[in-house]
Protein backbone atom coordinates (compact mmCIF):
# COMPACT_ATOMS: atom_id res chain seq x y z
CA UNK A 1 0.00 0.00 0.00
CA UNK A 2 2.60 2.52 1.12
CA UNK A 3 6.22 1.64 0.40
CA UNK A 4 7.78 4.06 2.84
CA UNK A 5 8.42 3.39 6.52
CA UNK A 6 7.16 5.65 9.27
CA UNK A 7 8.58 6.65 12.62
CA UNK A 8 5.19 5.92 14.13
CA UNK A 9 1.80 4.58 13.10
CA UNK A 10 -1.23 5.70 15.10
CA UNK A 11 -4.23 3.37 14.87
CA UNK A 12 -7.45 5.30 15.38
CA UNK A 13 -8.49 8.94 15.17
CA UNK A 14 -10.43 9.55 18.36
CA UNK A 15 -9.29 11.79 21.21
CA UNK A 16 -6.28 9.65 22.16
CA UNK A 17 -5.17 8.96 18.59
CA UNK A 18 -5.50 12.57 17.50
CA UNK A 19 -3.59 13.81 20.56
CA UNK A 20 -0.81 11.29 19.87
CA UNK A 21 -0.61 11.96 16.12
CA UNK A 22 -0.66 15.73 16.63
CA UNK A 23 2.11 15.66 19.24
CA UNK A 24 4.29 13.31 17.19
CA UNK A 25 3.87 15.43 14.06
CA UNK A 26 4.51 18.66 15.98
CA UNK A 27 7.81 17.15 17.20
CA UNK A 28 8.80 16.46 13.60
CA UNK A 29 8.27 12.70 13.50
CA UNK A 30 7.05 11.00 10.35
CA UNK A 31 3.55 9.83 11.32
CA UNK A 32 0.88 7.75 9.62
CA UNK A 33 -2.56 7.76 11.23
CA UNK A 34 -5.10 5.15 10.15
CA UNK A 35 -8.84 5.55 10.71
CA UNK A 36 -11.61 3.17 9.60
CA UNK A 37 -14.34 5.84 9.36
CA UNK A 38 -14.85 8.12 6.37
CA UNK A 39 -13.32 10.91 8.48
CA UNK A 40 -12.09 11.30 12.05
CA UNK A 41 -15.26 11.38 14.14
CA UNK A 42 -17.59 9.36 11.98
CA UNK A 43 -17.19 6.30 14.25
CA UNK A 44 -16.72 8.13 17.53
CA UNK A 45 -19.42 8.34 20.18
CA UNK A 46 -19.38 10.31 23.41
CA UNK A 47 -21.83 12.34 25.59
CA UNK A 48 -19.92 14.67 25.17
CA UNK A 49 -18.09 17.02 27.54
CA UNK A 50 -14.71 18.50 26.67
CA UNK A 51 -12.26 19.61 29.36
CA UNK A 52 -10.35 22.67 28.26
CA UNK A 53 -7.16 22.13 30.24
CA UNK A 54 -6.11 18.94 28.48
CA UNK A 55 -6.83 20.35 25.03
CA UNK A 56 -5.00 23.61 25.82
CA UNK A 57 -1.85 21.57 26.33
CA UNK A 58 -2.16 20.43 22.71
CA UNK A 59 -3.79 23.40 20.98
CA UNK A 60 -3.53 26.49 23.24
CA UNK A 61 -5.79 28.70 21.09
CA UNK A 62 -8.43 26.04 20.37
CA UNK A 63 -11.28 28.38 21.37
CA UNK A 64 -10.67 30.43 18.21
CA UNK A 65 -12.00 27.87 15.77
CA UNK A 66 -12.98 24.61 17.51
CA UNK A 67 -16.65 23.64 17.08
CA UNK A 68 -17.75 24.07 20.71
CA UNK A 69 -21.42 23.88 21.64
CA UNK A 70 -21.90 25.48 25.09
CA UNK A 71 -19.70 26.22 28.10
CA UNK A 72 -21.10 24.66 31.24
CA UNK A 73 -22.32 26.89 34.05
CA UNK A 74 -24.61 24.44 35.80
CA UNK A 75 -24.32 20.87 37.02
CA UNK A 76 -27.33 18.93 38.28
CA UNK A 77 -27.22 15.56 40.00
CA UNK A 78 -30.53 13.78 40.25
CA UNK A 79 -31.48 10.85 42.43
CA UNK A 80 -34.61 9.45 40.85
CA UNK A 81 -37.49 7.19 41.69
CA UNK A 82 -40.27 6.45 39.23
CA UNK A 83 -42.12 9.73 39.68
CA UNK A 84 -39.67 12.10 41.32
CA UNK A 85 -36.12 13.29 41.56
CA UNK A 86 -34.16 14.72 44.47
CA UNK A 87 -31.54 17.07 43.10
CA UNK A 88 -28.28 18.71 43.92
CA UNK A 89 -27.64 21.70 41.65
CA UNK A 90 -24.55 23.77 41.33
CA UNK A 91 -24.75 26.84 39.13
CA UNK A 92 -22.27 29.69 39.14
CA UNK A 93 -21.80 32.85 37.15
CA UNK A 94 -18.06 32.36 37.80
CA UNK A 95 -18.18 29.77 35.02
CA UNK A 96 -19.00 32.61 32.60
CA UNK A 97 -15.28 33.31 32.39
CA UNK A 98 -13.04 34.37 29.57
CA UNK A 99 -11.62 30.87 29.18
CA UNK A 100 -14.26 28.43 30.41
CA UNK A 101 -13.22 25.04 31.77
CA UNK A 102 -15.86 22.70 30.34
CA UNK A 103 -17.78 22.64 27.09
CA UNK A 104 -20.32 20.38 25.46
CA UNK A 105 -19.21 19.17 22.03
CA UNK A 106 -20.55 16.99 19.23
CA UNK A 107 -17.86 14.44 18.50
CA UNK A 108 -18.34 13.98 14.76
CA UNK A 109 -17.82 17.72 14.30
CA UNK A 110 -15.16 18.23 16.95
CA UNK A 111 -13.02 15.30 15.82
CA UNK A 112 -13.11 16.47 12.22
CA UNK A 113 -11.67 19.80 13.39
CA UNK A 114 -9.09 18.05 15.60
CA UNK A 115 -8.03 15.88 12.66
CA UNK A 116 -7.49 18.98 10.51
CA UNK A 117 -4.99 20.22 13.11
CA UNK A 118 -3.25 16.82 12.97
CA UNK A 119 -2.95 17.09 9.18
CA UNK A 120 -1.74 20.68 9.34
CA UNK A 121 0.99 19.56 11.73
CA UNK A 122 2.24 17.22 9.01
CA UNK A 123 0.86 13.77 9.81
CA UNK A 124 -0.40 11.57 6.98
CA UNK A 125 -4.02 10.75 7.84
CA UNK A 126 -5.53 7.86 5.91
CA UNK A 127 -9.25 7.30 6.48
CA UNK A 128 -11.58 4.51 5.33
CA UNK A 129 -8.81 2.09 6.26
CA UNK A 130 -9.38 -0.66 8.80
CA UNK A 131 -6.30 -2.11 10.46
CA UNK A 132 -6.82 -5.86 10.62
CA UNK A 133 -3.67 -7.07 12.33
CA UNK A 134 -0.45 -6.03 14.02
CA UNK A 135 2.69 -7.24 12.25
CA UNK A 136 5.17 -8.85 14.63
CA UNK A 137 8.64 -10.24 14.03
CA UNK A 138 9.77 -13.65 15.23
CA UNK A 139 10.49 -12.30 18.72
CA UNK A 140 7.06 -10.71 19.03
CA UNK A 141 8.17 -7.12 18.45
CA UNK A 142 5.50 -5.07 16.71
CA UNK A 143 6.95 -3.83 13.41
CA UNK A 144 3.89 -2.42 11.66
CA UNK A 145 0.29 -3.10 10.73
CA UNK A 146 -1.76 -4.87 8.09
CA UNK A 147 -4.75 -2.94 6.72
CA UNK A 148 -7.67 -3.96 4.55
CA UNK A 149 -6.25 -1.99 1.60
CA UNK A 150 -4.59 -3.70 -1.35
CA UNK A 151 -1.02 -4.73 -0.43
CA UNK A 152 -1.96 -3.31 2.92
CA UNK A 153 1.19 -3.74 5.02
CA UNK A 154 2.94 -0.69 6.47
CA UNK A 155 6.01 -0.64 8.68
CA UNK A 156 7.00 1.66 11.54
CA UNK A 157 9.35 1.85 14.52
CA UNK A 158 6.44 2.05 16.91
CA UNK A 159 2.66 1.57 16.76
CA UNK A 160 0.40 3.67 18.98
CA UNK A 161 -2.79 1.71 19.62
CA UNK A 162 -5.60 4.23 19.97
CA UNK A 163 -8.16 1.78 18.70
CA UNK A 164 -10.90 2.46 21.24
CA UNK A 165 -12.57 0.52 24.00
CA UNK A 166 -12.95 -2.77 22.13
CA UNK A 167 -9.22 -2.96 21.54
CA UNK A 168 -9.51 -5.61 18.86
CA UNK A 169 -5.92 -5.51 17.55
CA UNK A 170 -4.21 -5.66 20.93
CA UNK A 171 -6.45 -8.55 21.97
CA UNK A 172 -5.79 -10.45 18.77
CA UNK A 173 -2.05 -10.01 19.13
CA UNK A 174 -2.23 -11.29 22.72
CA UNK A 175 -1.02 -7.99 24.21
CA UNK A 176 -4.02 -7.81 26.56
CA UNK A 177 -7.31 -9.53 27.17
CA UNK A 178 -10.75 -8.51 25.97
CA UNK A 179 -12.68 -6.30 28.45
CA UNK A 180 -14.96 -8.34 30.74
CA UNK A 181 -18.73 -7.67 30.66
CA UNK A 182 -18.56 -6.44 34.28
CA UNK A 183 -15.82 -3.92 33.39
CA UNK A 184 -17.62 -2.07 30.59
CA UNK A 185 -20.90 -0.18 30.44
CA UNK A 186 -23.14 -0.07 27.40
CA UNK A 187 -24.56 3.41 26.86
CA UNK A 188 -27.23 4.34 24.32
CA UNK A 189 -27.82 7.92 23.30
CA UNK A 190 -30.14 10.03 21.17
CA UNK A 191 -29.70 13.50 19.72
CA UNK A 192 -32.80 15.61 20.34
CA UNK A 193 -33.07 18.84 18.37
CA UNK A 194 -35.03 21.84 19.64
CA UNK A 195 -35.16 25.50 18.62
CA UNK A 196 -32.38 27.32 20.46
CA UNK A 197 -34.77 29.66 22.35
CA UNK A 198 -36.88 26.73 23.53
CA UNK A 199 -33.85 24.87 24.79
CA UNK A 200 -32.47 27.93 26.58
CA UNK A 201 -35.83 28.65 28.24
CA UNK A 202 -36.26 25.08 29.44
CA UNK A 203 -32.79 24.90 30.98
CA UNK A 204 -32.63 28.50 32.22
CA UNK A 205 -29.71 29.42 29.95
CA UNK A 206 -28.71 32.38 27.81
CA UNK A 207 -26.10 32.88 25.11
CA UNK A 208 -23.51 30.11 25.11
CA UNK A 209 -24.32 28.88 28.61
CA UNK A 210 -24.91 25.18 29.07
CA UNK A 211 -26.18 22.77 31.71
CA UNK A 212 -25.60 19.12 32.50
CA UNK A 213 -27.89 16.69 34.27
CA UNK A 214 -26.59 13.35 35.52
CA UNK A 215 -29.07 10.98 37.09
CA UNK A 216 -29.08 7.74 39.03
CA UNK A 217 -31.88 5.78 40.61
CA UNK A 218 -34.74 3.54 39.60
CA UNK A 219 -34.14 4.52 35.95
CA UNK A 220 -31.46 1.80 35.86
CA UNK A 221 -33.76 -0.88 37.33
CA UNK A 222 -31.32 -1.83 40.08
CA UNK A 223 -28.34 -2.04 37.72
CA UNK A 224 -25.13 -0.02 38.06
CA UNK A 225 -25.88 2.82 35.69
CA UNK A 226 -26.44 6.48 35.01
CA UNK A 227 -28.60 8.67 32.80
CA UNK A 228 -27.35 11.92 31.29
CA UNK A 229 -28.75 15.02 29.61
CA UNK A 230 -26.27 17.46 28.05
CA UNK A 231 -27.26 20.72 26.37
CA UNK A 232 -25.68 21.51 23.02
CA UNK A 233 -26.38 24.71 21.07
CA UNK A 234 -29.63 23.54 19.52
CA UNK A 235 -29.78 19.92 20.59
CA UNK A 236 -29.78 17.75 23.68
CA UNK A 237 -27.62 14.64 24.00
CA UNK A 238 -29.67 12.27 26.11
CA UNK A 239 -28.69 8.77 27.10
CA UNK A 240 -28.33 6.06 29.68
CA UNK A 241 -25.68 3.45 30.34
CA UNK A 242 -25.38 0.36 32.55
CA UNK A 243 -22.83 -2.40 33.01
CA UNK A 244 -23.00 -5.02 30.27
CA UNK A 245 -22.99 -7.81 32.88
CA UNK A 246 -26.01 -6.19 34.56
CA UNK A 247 -27.92 -6.07 31.27
CA UNK A 248 -27.03 -9.72 30.77
CA UNK A 249 -28.23 -10.64 34.27
CA UNK A 250 -31.49 -8.70 34.24
CA UNK A 251 -32.58 -9.15 30.62
CA UNK A 252 -33.35 -5.41 30.40
CA UNK A 253 -32.99 -3.93 26.92
CA UNK A 254 -30.88 -0.77 26.45
CA UNK A 255 -33.53 0.89 24.27
CA UNK A 256 -36.25 -0.05 26.77
CA UNK A 257 -34.27 1.70 29.50
CA UNK A 258 -33.74 4.74 27.25
CA UNK A 259 -37.48 4.99 26.53
CA UNK A 260 -38.27 4.72 30.23
CA UNK A 261 -35.76 7.48 31.07
CA UNK A 262 -37.25 9.71 28.36
CA UNK A 263 -40.77 9.19 29.64
CA UNK A 264 -39.90 10.03 33.27
CA UNK A 265 -42.01 13.04 34.35
CA UNK A 266 -38.84 15.03 35.19
CA UNK A 267 -37.32 14.38 31.74
CA UNK A 268 -40.34 14.27 29.43
CA UNK A 269 -41.00 18.00 29.57
CA UNK A 270 -37.38 18.87 28.79
CA UNK A 271 -37.44 17.07 25.43
CA UNK A 272 -41.09 17.57 24.50
CA UNK A 273 -41.56 18.30 20.80
CA UNK A 274 -37.93 17.58 19.94
CA UNK A 275 -36.81 16.05 16.67
CA UNK A 276 -34.56 13.03 17.16
CA UNK A 277 -31.83 12.84 14.52
CA UNK A 278 -29.54 10.01 15.62
CA UNK A 279 -29.35 6.91 17.81
CA UNK A 280 -25.94 5.67 18.90
CA UNK A 281 -24.46 3.12 21.28
CA UNK A 282 -21.01 2.79 22.79
CA UNK A 283 -19.06 0.89 25.41
CA UNK A 284 -17.44 2.79 28.29
CA UNK A 285 -14.52 1.37 30.30
CA UNK A 286 -15.64 1.10 33.95
CA UNK A 287 -13.05 -1.15 35.56
CA UNK A 288 -10.86 1.71 36.78
CA UNK A 289 -7.30 1.33 37.98
CA UNK A 290 -7.44 -2.42 38.47
CA UNK A 291 -8.56 -2.99 34.87
CA UNK A 292 -5.63 -1.14 33.26
CA UNK A 293 -3.75 -3.61 31.06
CA UNK A 294 -0.07 -3.73 30.10
CA UNK A 295 0.48 -0.29 28.52
CA UNK A 296 3.63 -0.82 26.45
CA UNK A 297 5.81 -3.47 24.87
CA UNK A 298 8.36 -3.99 22.12
CA UNK A 299 7.30 -1.62 19.36
CA UNK A 300 3.92 -0.59 20.80
CA UNK A 301 2.03 1.50 23.33
CA UNK A 302 -1.70 1.62 24.08
CA UNK A 303 -3.61 4.83 24.91
CA UNK A 304 -7.12 6.08 25.73
CA UNK A 305 -10.14 3.81 26.00
CA UNK A 306 -8.16 0.89 24.56
CA UNK A 307 -6.07 1.13 27.75
CA UNK A 308 -9.34 1.34 29.77
CA UNK A 309 -8.29 4.80 31.01
CA UNK A 310 -11.60 6.19 32.24
CA UNK A 311 -12.57 7.78 35.53
CA UNK A 312 -16.11 6.46 36.01
CA UNK A 313 -16.66 8.34 39.28
CA UNK A 314 -16.06 11.74 37.68
CA UNK A 315 -17.27 10.65 34.25
CA UNK A 316 -14.00 11.69 32.65
CA UNK A 317 -12.70 9.75 29.68
CA UNK A 318 -11.76 12.00 26.79
CA UNK A 319 -9.31 14.04 28.87
CA UNK A 320 -7.56 10.89 30.05
CA UNK A 321 -7.51 9.79 26.42
CA UNK A 322 -5.99 13.08 25.23
CA UNK A 323 -3.43 13.12 28.02
CA UNK A 324 -2.35 9.51 27.54
CA UNK A 325 -2.03 10.08 23.78
CA UNK A 326 0.08 13.17 24.33
CA UNK A 327 2.32 11.52 26.94
CA UNK A 328 2.85 8.42 24.80
CA UNK A 329 3.91 10.70 21.93
CA UNK A 330 6.26 12.67 24.16
CA UNK A 331 7.85 9.46 25.44
CA UNK A 332 8.32 8.24 21.86
CA UNK A 333 9.82 11.58 20.87
CA UNK A 334 12.31 11.45 23.77
CA UNK A 335 13.39 7.91 22.90
CA UNK A 336 13.70 8.84 19.25
CA UNK A 337 15.75 11.96 20.08
CA UNK A 338 18.24 9.79 21.95
CA UNK A 339 18.37 7.52 18.87
CA UNK A 340 17.33 4.63 21.09
CA UNK A 341 15.21 1.72 19.80
CA UNK A 342 11.49 1.41 20.61
CA UNK A 343 11.92 -1.49 23.00
CA UNK A 344 9.72 -2.48 25.89
CA UNK A 345 12.42 -1.26 28.26
CA UNK A 346 12.59 2.20 26.70
CA UNK A 347 8.83 2.59 26.21
CA UNK A 348 8.33 2.05 29.95
CA UNK A 349 8.96 5.80 30.01
CA UNK A 350 5.35 6.26 28.85
CA UNK A 351 4.01 4.37 31.86
CA UNK A 352 6.21 6.42 34.15
CA UNK A 353 4.99 9.70 32.65
CA UNK A 354 1.41 8.50 33.03
CA UNK A 355 2.06 7.55 36.68
CA UNK A 356 3.32 11.08 37.32
CA UNK A 357 0.22 12.64 35.75
CA UNK A 358 -3.31 13.10 37.11
CA UNK A 359 -4.43 10.16 34.96
CA UNK A 360 -2.99 7.38 37.12
CA UNK A 361 -3.19 9.34 40.36
CA UNK A 362 -6.95 9.88 39.99
CA UNK A 363 -7.61 6.31 38.90
CA UNK A 364 -5.59 4.98 41.83
CA UNK A 365 -7.57 7.11 44.26
CA UNK A 366 -10.82 5.45 43.21
CA UNK A 367 -9.43 1.95 42.68
CA UNK A 368 -12.00 0.35 45.05
CA UNK A 369 -15.02 2.30 43.80
CA UNK A 370 -15.95 0.10 40.81
CA UNK A 371 -16.15 -3.05 42.96
CA UNK A 372 -18.22 -1.26 45.60
CA UNK A 373 -20.75 0.20 43.17
CA UNK A 374 -20.93 -2.91 41.02
CA UNK A 375 -21.40 -5.43 43.81
CA UNK A 376 -23.83 -3.31 45.84
CA UNK A 377 -25.69 -1.89 42.83
CA UNK A 378 -29.09 -2.68 44.32
CA UNK A 379 -28.41 -0.48 47.40
CA UNK A 380 -26.87 2.49 45.66
CA UNK A 381 -29.00 2.58 42.53
CA UNK A 382 -32.39 1.38 43.77
CA UNK A 383 -32.90 1.25 47.54
CA UNK A 384 -31.33 4.57 48.56
CA UNK A 385 -32.91 6.65 45.78
CA UNK A 386 -36.33 5.28 46.76
CA UNK A 387 -35.73 5.99 50.45
CA UNK A 388 -34.47 9.50 49.79
CA UNK A 389 -37.44 10.25 47.57
CA UNK A 390 -39.88 9.05 50.25
CA UNK A 391 -38.11 11.11 52.93
CA UNK A 392 -38.21 14.25 50.76
CA UNK A 393 -41.87 13.77 49.97
CA UNK A 394 -42.73 13.41 53.67
CA UNK A 395 -40.59 16.43 54.47
CA UNK A 396 -42.34 18.79 52.05
CA UNK A 397 -45.91 17.51 52.27
CA UNK A 398 -48.03 19.23 54.93
CA UNK A 399 -50.73 16.80 56.00
CA UNK A 400 -51.32 17.10 59.76
CA UNK A 401 -48.85 14.35 60.68
CA UNK A 402 -46.49 15.73 63.32
CA UNK A 403 -42.88 16.42 62.37
CA UNK A 404 -41.62 14.04 65.06
CA UNK A 405 -43.73 11.21 63.68
CA UNK A 406 -42.53 11.94 60.14
CA UNK A 407 -38.90 11.83 61.16
CA UNK A 408 -39.46 8.59 63.02
CA UNK A 409 -41.16 7.07 59.97
CA UNK A 410 -38.28 8.12 57.72
CA UNK A 411 -35.71 6.62 60.05
CA UNK A 412 -37.77 3.42 60.31
CA UNK A 413 -38.00 3.13 56.50
CA UNK A 414 -34.20 3.39 56.15
CA UNK A 415 -33.63 0.83 58.90
CA UNK A 416 -36.22 -1.55 57.50
CA UNK A 417 -34.70 -1.40 54.03
CA UNK A 418 -31.00 -1.61 54.87
CA UNK A 419 -30.63 -2.14 58.70
CA UNK A 420 -28.41 0.10 60.79
CA UNK A 421 -25.45 -2.17 60.22
CA UNK A 422 -26.07 -2.12 56.47
CA UNK A 423 -26.29 1.66 56.30
CA UNK A 424 -23.16 2.17 58.39
CA UNK A 425 -21.35 -0.45 56.30
CA UNK A 426 -22.39 1.22 53.03
CA UNK A 427 -21.34 4.65 54.32
CA UNK A 428 -18.03 3.30 55.61
CA UNK A 429 -17.21 1.44 52.39
CA UNK A 430 -18.22 4.41 50.27
CA UNK A 431 -16.07 6.80 52.30
CA UNK A 432 -13.13 4.41 52.13
CA UNK A 433 -13.42 3.98 48.37
CA UNK A 434 -13.70 7.75 47.91
CA UNK A 435 -10.74 8.59 50.17
Amino acid sequence: MIEERFDAIVVGAGMAGNAAALTLAQRGLKVLQLERGEYSGSKNVQGAILYADMLEKLIPDFREDAPLERHLIEQRFWMMDDNSHTGLHYRSDDFNEEKPNRYTIIRAQFDKWFSKKVQEAGAVVLCETTVTELLQDARGKVIGVRTDRKNGKVGADVVVLAEGVSGLLGTRAGLRSRPDPNKVALAVKEMHFLPQETLEARFNLKGDEGAVIEAVGTISEGMTGMGFIYTNRESISLGIGCLVSDFERTGQTPYGLLEKFKSHPSVRTLIEGSEVKEYAAHLIPEGGYKAIPQLFGDGWVVVGDAAQLNNAVHREGSNLAMTSGRLAAEAIFQIKSRRDPMTRENLALYRKMLEDSFVMKDLKKYRDMPDLLHIRAQNFFLTYPQLVSKAMKDFVRVDGVTKAEKEKATLRSFLAARSLKGIIGDAFNFARAWR
Binding site: A108, F247, T253, P254, Y255, V276, A281
Partner: protein, 98 residues
Protein backbone atom coordinates in the same frame (compact mmCIF):
# COMPACT_ATOMS: atom_id res chain seq x y z
CA UNK B 1 -44.68 -5.79 23.97
CA UNK B 2 -41.77 -7.42 22.14
CA UNK B 3 -43.12 -6.23 18.78
CA UNK B 4 -43.49 -2.74 20.17
CA UNK B 5 -39.84 -2.67 21.21
CA UNK B 6 -38.80 -4.01 17.81
CA UNK B 7 -40.65 -1.24 16.01
CA UNK B 8 -39.07 1.37 18.21
CA UNK B 9 -35.50 0.21 17.55
CA UNK B 10 -36.10 0.09 13.81
CA UNK B 11 -37.44 3.63 13.99
CA UNK B 12 -34.29 4.69 15.82
CA UNK B 13 -31.94 3.02 13.34
CA UNK B 14 -33.81 4.65 10.48
CA UNK B 15 -32.41 8.00 11.70
CA UNK B 16 -28.83 6.84 11.20
CA UNK B 17 -26.64 6.87 8.10
CA UNK B 18 -25.08 3.62 6.95
CA UNK B 19 -22.94 2.42 4.09
CA UNK B 20 -23.79 -1.27 3.96
CA UNK B 21 -21.11 -3.63 2.67
CA UNK B 22 -23.55 -5.96 0.90
CA UNK B 23 -22.75 -9.64 1.28
CA UNK B 24 -19.92 -9.06 3.75
CA UNK B 25 -21.30 -9.26 7.28
CA UNK B 26 -18.61 -8.16 9.74
CA UNK B 27 -20.05 -10.31 12.53
CA UNK B 28 -20.90 -13.99 12.08
CA UNK B 29 -22.77 -16.37 14.36
CA UNK B 30 -21.28 -19.86 14.66
CA UNK B 31 -23.71 -22.45 13.28
CA UNK B 32 -25.55 -24.16 16.14
CA UNK B 33 -28.61 -26.26 16.85
CA UNK B 34 -29.38 -24.92 20.33
CA UNK B 35 -28.23 -21.37 21.19
CA UNK B 36 -25.93 -20.82 24.19
CA UNK B 37 -27.03 -18.57 27.09
CA UNK B 38 -24.69 -15.89 25.67
CA UNK B 39 -26.37 -15.94 22.26
CA UNK B 40 -29.79 -15.81 23.88
CA UNK B 41 -28.67 -12.81 25.96
CA UNK B 42 -27.77 -10.93 22.76
CA UNK B 43 -31.40 -10.99 21.64
CA UNK B 44 -32.08 -8.38 24.33
CA UNK B 45 -28.62 -6.91 24.85
CA UNK B 46 -27.82 -5.72 21.33
CA UNK B 47 -28.85 -2.04 21.22
CA UNK B 48 -29.62 -2.29 17.49
CA UNK B 49 -31.52 -5.59 17.79
CA UNK B 50 -29.31 -7.17 15.16
CA UNK B 51 -29.80 -10.60 16.72
CA UNK B 52 -33.09 -12.42 16.11
CA UNK B 53 -34.30 -15.94 16.70
CA UNK B 54 -35.40 -17.82 13.59
CA UNK B 55 -38.32 -20.23 13.39
CA UNK B 56 -36.00 -23.18 14.05
CA UNK B 57 -34.94 -21.66 17.39
CA UNK B 58 -31.46 -20.59 16.29
CA UNK B 59 -30.00 -17.13 16.76
CA UNK B 60 -29.23 -15.23 13.55
CA UNK B 61 -27.62 -11.88 12.92
CA UNK B 62 -28.35 -9.15 10.38
CA UNK B 63 -25.54 -6.61 10.65
CA UNK B 64 -27.05 -3.85 8.48
CA UNK B 65 -28.22 -1.78 11.47
CA UNK B 66 -25.17 -2.48 13.65
CA UNK B 67 -23.91 0.60 15.52
CA UNK B 68 -20.49 -1.05 16.13
CA UNK B 69 -20.55 -0.77 19.92
CA UNK B 70 -18.79 -4.09 20.55
CA UNK B 71 -21.18 -5.34 23.24
CA UNK B 72 -21.79 -8.69 21.55
CA UNK B 73 -18.05 -9.23 21.22
CA UNK B 74 -17.54 -8.76 24.95
CA UNK B 75 -20.32 -11.24 25.74
CA UNK B 76 -20.17 -13.92 23.06
CA UNK B 77 -16.70 -13.92 21.50
CA UNK B 78 -15.03 -15.60 24.52
CA UNK B 79 -17.39 -18.58 24.16
CA UNK B 80 -16.72 -18.81 20.42
CA UNK B 81 -20.38 -18.13 19.63
CA UNK B 82 -19.59 -15.24 17.31
CA UNK B 83 -16.76 -14.09 15.09
CA UNK B 84 -16.29 -10.34 15.35
CA UNK B 85 -14.57 -7.89 13.02
CA UNK B 86 -14.86 -4.23 12.22
CA UNK B 87 -16.51 -3.49 8.86
CA UNK B 88 -14.13 -2.78 5.97
CA UNK B 89 -12.75 0.74 5.90
CA UNK B 90 -15.43 3.31 5.09
CA UNK B 91 -18.36 0.91 5.55
CA UNK B 92 -20.84 0.51 8.38
CA UNK B 93 -22.48 3.18 10.49
CA UNK B 94 -21.56 6.79 9.64
CA UNK B 95 -22.36 8.98 12.62
CA UNK B 96 -23.46 12.52 11.84
CA UNK B 97 -23.13 13.61 15.48
CA UNK B 98 -21.68 10.69 17.42
Amino acid sequence: MATQAATRVEDKLYLNRYLVDAGRAHIKVRPHTTPSPQLLALLKLCPARCYEMNSAGQVEIATDGCVECGTCRVVAEPTGDIEWNYPRGGYGVLFKFG
